[in-house]
Structures are given as structure tokens and as C-alpha cells.
């Protein structure tokens, strides 16, 4: 068998120019897939971590009734004894921290103009301890001091539409748990920009005590849990379910992936594009290789006839030609892997930035991640393409009439 493989290996280099062209095509396909896939991986990985660190956290805990809640009176279904729940969660391994939140809606007014806002009430210290960042374009972040109870951060779009700046006063209105309309006065401490224009046009952040005063309730809507590593999400999720089942209020735990709708859409989009590219590379390699391998077979007709005359089983001829194509695929994949990784390193070092995608306001750095699974799948794709491309020429070669093949010029 070793001799047989040696014959296949040497046959690859009989027509060096043709082999080089095939290797360039196969290697180019792998390189293209690695660069595109590496970029998509960078985008999705970056988006995933951004999504988590921008406040989504790795896990979120709600009451079981939360998702059947009244959007106006959000705390009707809130967590009552949230400090006890948070303490229970903190004892689980890999939990880095827990932050209470109230997600609510209301009206904001500066006396001349009013607008709807999407509010998020936080414990600033807890948020910071989890590494959740706010992208301030002006002013300062909320702090945990007493004075910050009257402060607010607002989205850049909302500030622009309300024509307000840092230091200006605002009145927030929301419906309390009793159904009454309540209001509190706040001062703008800072202006934030998430990069998503639609969010920035509605976003407002205040401290937890401010929101509880506004909504007239001690409850919170959810607890955000930060872990030491995103990879531990499933393990901690499985750990928390039994721990929380013993609490008086029935809880629901959601993983970040269940809440990150935009991330999932982007991830699915990139997967779709990558799959489409893979299909194109597959057919490109398949079609051009069939022709190349048929030419190679045609040139070796007499040699194949000789081998058949000497009693070589026809299956051996099929295996020989398929082995040659597969080896060619292995060499092309190896070359493509080397070129793809090298180009990736060079592109990463170049500091290239791409224009902001639709809906974003900041440019995106161009980085290529080196993903082992993608290297394996791209290599397998081209190797299988070449092996499949060799079936037709190999079967034709095995069916040659010996006398005609020997007379072939």
C-alpha cells in the first residue's frame, strides 16, 4: 500500500504546471474561506463579548411570571426579596458578580418637550464590578453615592432630540405598581452612545433607588449575573436551576444567547454567508478539478492500459486516481492553511478598519481570528471536493478497453 501511495504521490508532480494551477485554486479556496470565516468569527466573537459586557451579562434571573408581565407596571411581576436571590446566586462557582436591574418605560420631559424613554435602573457599583461599561461622550458615569440618586445618563440621540446637555434637569414620569402616575426630577450626569442609533434615541439610565422611588416599589425586574468566562455559561445555568428552585418566588434563568436577539441574527447571517461561500468553493474546486483530472487520465491512457494488462484490478485504478486527487487536496489545503493564517496575521497587524455597518455609528476594526475548527472544515471541504471530482475520471479509467488503451497515442 505504501508503494501504491508513493506512486500516487509521484504522479501528482508529473505535470507540474497543471498541479500548480490546481494547488493554487484549492489553496486559494481554503485561504478565502479562512479569511472570510476568521473575520466573521472575529465579528461574532466581538459582538458576543460586547453584548455581554455592555450589560446583558452571562445570565439573567427573572421571576417566572416576568415574560407575561404588563409592560406598563413592570414591577408587578418583579423579584421581591432580590437580595436573598442575589446571595444565593453568588455562592455558585464561576459567578463573578450579580447586579440588580429595573428595566422600565416612561416619559421624560424638560418642560418644553417630552419623549418616551426606555429606562434601565442600575446599581452603579455592581455594574462596574462586573466590568459593564458605558460609552460616555460627555459628562460622567453614575456613581454609588447618595448624590447620584438624582442623576441620569441619557442616550446621545435622546439628548439631541430633547435638546439637552450635561447638567440640565429632566422630569421622569412612569406608572407605579398601584397604577398611579408618578414623577421624579433628575439631572443629566452624562451622555452615552451605544453605537446603535435606535437604542441611543430612547435610552435613559438612573440608579436603582431613583427608579424604586419613581415606581414606588422595592422590587427589581431582574438580576444580571456576570461569570468569569463565557464558556462557563451552561455549567452555571445548570448549577443555578436547582439552587433557585428552593426560593419562595418561582424564578426563571435565561442565558445570554436567549436574550441576545441581535447577536443571533448577525450570527445566523454570517453562518449563512459562510455556508454560501463554502458551497461556491466546493463547486469551483469540483468543476475545475473534474476537467483537470480527466486531462490527466487521458494523458495516461496507455499507462493505465499497461497496468490493466498486467492484471491490476480495476478497483486499484479507481483507488489510485482517487488517492492522487485526495493527496492533491491535502497539499492544496495545507498550502491554503499556511497562506490563510499568514495573511490573517498580516491583516491583523495592519490595523485596518472597516466603515460602520448599517445601524452603527462607529467603524469596525478588521481582524481575522484563527479558528481551528474552521481550518479543519475548510480543509475537509476541498479534500472531499477533489476526491469527488476524481470519481468520474477514475471510473472512466478503470473501464478502459485494454487493447484500445495500449494503442492510445
Amino acid at each position: 500500500m505504501a508503494k501504491f501511495l508513493l506512486l500516487a504521490f509521484r504522479n501528482i508532480f508529473r505535470n507540474r504546471r497543471r498541479t500548480l494551477m490546481t494547488l493554487l485554486m484549492v489553496g486559494g479556496g481554503v485561504t478565502g474561506l479562512l479569511l472570510a470565516g476568521g473575520y466573521f468569527a472575529f465579528m461574532t466573537h466581538g459582538l458576543r463579548e460586547d453584548t455581554i459586557r455592555n450589560g446583558l451579562g452571562h445570565l439573567q434571573i427573572f421571576t417566572a411570571e416576568h415574560f407575561r408581565r404588563d409592560e406598563i407596571r413592570v414591577l408587578d411581576t418583579g423579584i421581591e426579596n432580590w437580595r436573598q436571590v442575589a446571595a444565593t446566586v453568588r455562592t455558585a462557582p464561576h459567578v463573578h458578580g450579580v447586579a440588580p436591574r429595573i428595566e422600565f418605560y416612561g416619559m421624560v420631559s424638560n418642560g418644553q418637550k417630552s419623549s418616551i424613554f426606555m429606562g434601565s435602573a442600575v446599581d452603579p457599583d455592581a455594574e462596574r464590578s462586573l466590568g459593564f461599561s458605558t460609552f460616555l461622550t460627555a459628562g460622567k458615569d453614575l456613581d454609588g453615592d447618595q448624590g447620584s440618586d438624582v442623576e441620569a445618563l441619557i442616550g446621545a440621540g435622546l439628548a439631541k432630540s430633547m435638546n439637552v446637555k450635561v447638567g440640565d434637569g429632566l422630569t421622569l414620569f412612569a406608572v407605579t405598581s398601584d397604577g398611579a402616575l408618578n414623577g421624579v426630577d433628575v439631572q443629566i450626569a452624562g451622555i452615552v452612545e451605544s453605537g446603535v442609533a435606535e437604542l441611543d434615541a430612547r435610552y435613559l439610565r438612573i440608579t436603582l433607588p431613583s427608579a424604586q422611588r419613581l415606581l414606588q416599589s422595592d422590587r427589581i425586574t431582574n438580576l444580571v449575573v456576570g461569570l468569569d468566562d463565557t464558556a462557563n455559561t451552561d455549567a452555571v445555568y445548570n448549577e443555578l436551576i436547582p439552587r433557585l428552585s428552593g426560593l419562595p418566588q418561582r424564578m426563571t434563568v435565561k442565558k445570554w444567547i436567549d436574550l441576545a436577539t441581535y447577536y443571533k441574527q448577525v450570527h445566523n447571517l454570517f453562518n449563512g454567508i459562510f455556508l454560501f461561500m463554502g458551497v461556491i468553493v466546493f463547486f469551483m474546486v469540483l468543476m475545475s478539478s473534474v476537467n483537470t483530472l480527466l486531462m490527466a487520465m487521458f494523458e495516461r491512457t496507455r499507462e493505465i492500459g499497461t497496468m490493466l494488462a498486467m492484471g491490476t484490478p480495476r478497483a486499484w485504478i479507481i483507488l489510485l486516481l482517487m488517492a492522487e486527487a485526495t493527496l492533491l487536496g491535502v497539499l492544496g489545503a495545507a498550502g491554503g492553511l499556511a497562506a490563510g493564517n499568514l495573511l490573517g496575521v498580516l491583516l491583523n497587524a495592519s490595523g485596518l478598519h472597516l466603515p460602520p455597518p448599517p445601524g452603527y455609528t462607529v467603524s469596525v476594526p478588521f481582524r481575522v481570528l484563527h479558528v481551528p475548527a474552521m481550518m479543519v472544515s475548510s480543509s475537509i471541504l476541498v479534500i472531499v471536493s477533489l476526491a469527488l471530482a476524481s470519481i468520474l475520471p477514475a471510473v472512466r479509467a478503470s473501464r478502459l478497453q485494454i487493447v484500445e488503451a495500449l494503442a492510445h497515442v
Binding site: 508503494k3 499497461t306 498486467m310 492484471g311
Partner: protein, 234 residues
């Protein structure tokens, strides 16, 4: 001596446009084990067709060929392939060596197909190359060998598995007179020393002088079966 090959009323016709060509027409002959036999005749007389049929790489339109006691017309394609692998050695006009293999690897090929172990293959291939006087060139690829050397390698490849029958179709056609004579002498020597049966075709009259038995073909028919008494036993 017993018959190794028995050709019985064999015809081979090929379709050509709307008619057909009779390449071999009701030919009959027998070859005994250990014979050294030439098939002679002009181009188009049916020499190659007869050798192809005896070599089991073509099937007769009618008649039958019995080789080493086996009616080849009754064998399946797979069995015919195995039959050729074990019983027949081929020497081709254009040498037909595998260009990416060295001389020794080319000679090893029939043993490789038979599943012989690597050590034994190497050993037997070197013996065969030695017997054709080209062992020193064992590591050379065909493109570095002369025409005469290539054909010697081809002969070594044909005898390495000790076949019952060696068929050589115009083995000297691409050689000069000197090399052609040497090749025929070499095949005759192997015939005598190893007891192998050789059948070769040629249209070169000079090569037939030392051939003990000559069968002449003309228009697909056996027209003469001549024995040179003085050279039959070498």
C-alpha cells in the same frame, strides 16, 4: 512436452463503419511449454491481434483459446485479470514503463499487484534486473535509460513473477539493429535458462534466423508454421 497455449479456430472481427474487418480468420495453433516462438508477418497480418487474444486482453469473435489448461473464453473479467497477473508477462513495443517509478520499482510492479511483501519484491526485482544485465541501473527512472535499457527493464518486469507465458508484441520495433538482436538473444537465453515460454511478434526477417519456431500470418490466417531443427534445442 504439453501444450501451454491452444488456439482453436479463432476469429476476431472488428466493426468498421458499415462493414467489418477480419483481423484474424479461423486461426489455429498450439504452443508447447518452454517454446520460443515468433509470430511473423507484414503489418496488418493479425500478429498483434493474435498476441492480444493469447494474452487475454481481447476476446475472440469465435473459436476458443485454452491457456495452461483453462478455457479463457469462460473466465469472468475479474478472473481474467487474476489469470493475466499470475500466468502472463507482457513486453510492449513502446516499453510502457511507469515513468515515475525507477527501473527496480517498475520491475516490482507485477509483484506489488500480486501482494508480495516489500522485501521479497525488492529481492526478486533485483534478481530479474540482474538476469537481463541491468542491475546497475536499478535506481534510474525510465527517462534516464536508453531504448535498449528500457526494453530490458520491460523484459525483467515481464519475467519477475515467473509467468507461464511471456508475450512480446514487436519488442524490437523501437530499437536499432544491434539492440534488437541483443534483446532477442536475451529473451532466448531466458527461455533456455529459466524454461519460460516466449512468444514474440516481428516483421523483421533478420531476427528470425535464430528463432526455433516461426508462425507466419497473412491477412489474419496462419500460412506457415515452420520449425528450425538446428535451433530448436539451442
Amino acid at each position: 512436452m504439453d501444450d501451454l497455449v491452444s488456439v482453436e479456430a479463432v476469429s476476431r472481427r472488428f466493426p468498421l463503419d458499415h462493414s467489418e474487418v477480419r483481423a484474424l480468420d479461423d486461426a489455429s495453433l498450439s504452443v508447447e511449454r518452454g517454446e520460443f516462438l515468433a509470430i511473423a508477418g507484414p503489418s496488418g497480418s493479425g500478429k498483434s491481434t493474435l498476441l492480444n487474444l493469447m494474452g487475454c486482453i481481447d476476446k475472440p469473435t469465435s473459436g476458443r483459446i485454452v491457456l495452461d489448461g483453462e478455457d479463457t473464453s469462460k473466465l469472468s473479467p475479474a478472473r481474467l485479470s487474476a489469470f493475466r497477473r499470475e500466468k502472463i508477462g507482457f513486453v510492449f513495443q513502446t516499453f510502457n514503463l511507469i515513468p515515475v517509478f525507477t527501473a527496480r520499482e517498475n520491475v516490482e510492479f507485477p509483484l506489488l499487484v500480486q501482494g508480495v511483501s516489500a522485501d521479497e519484491r525488492r529481492h526478486r526485482a533485483m534478481d530479474a534486473l540482474e538476469s537481463v544485465g541491468i542491475a546497475a541501473r536499478a535506481q534510474h527512472r525510465p527517462d534516464l535509460l536508453s531504448g535498449g535499457e528500457r526494453q530490458r527493464v520491460a523484459v525483467a518486469r515481464a519475467i519477475v513473477h515467473r509467468p507461464a507465458l511471456v508475450l512480446a508484441d514487436e519488442p524490437t520495433a523501437n530499437l536499432d539493429t544491434h539492440n534488437a538482436t541483443q534483446l532477442i538473444d536475451l529473451m532466448r537465453e531466458l527461455n533456455l535458462t529459466l524454461g519460460l515460454t516466449f512468444i514474440f511478434s516481428t516483421h523483421d526477417q533478420r531476427l528470425l534466423e535464430h528463432t526455433p519456431r516461426i508462425i507466419r500470418l497473412c491477412d489474419g490466417q496462419v500460412v506457415e508454421d515452420m520449425q528450425h531443427a538446428e535451433v530448436v534445442h539451442g
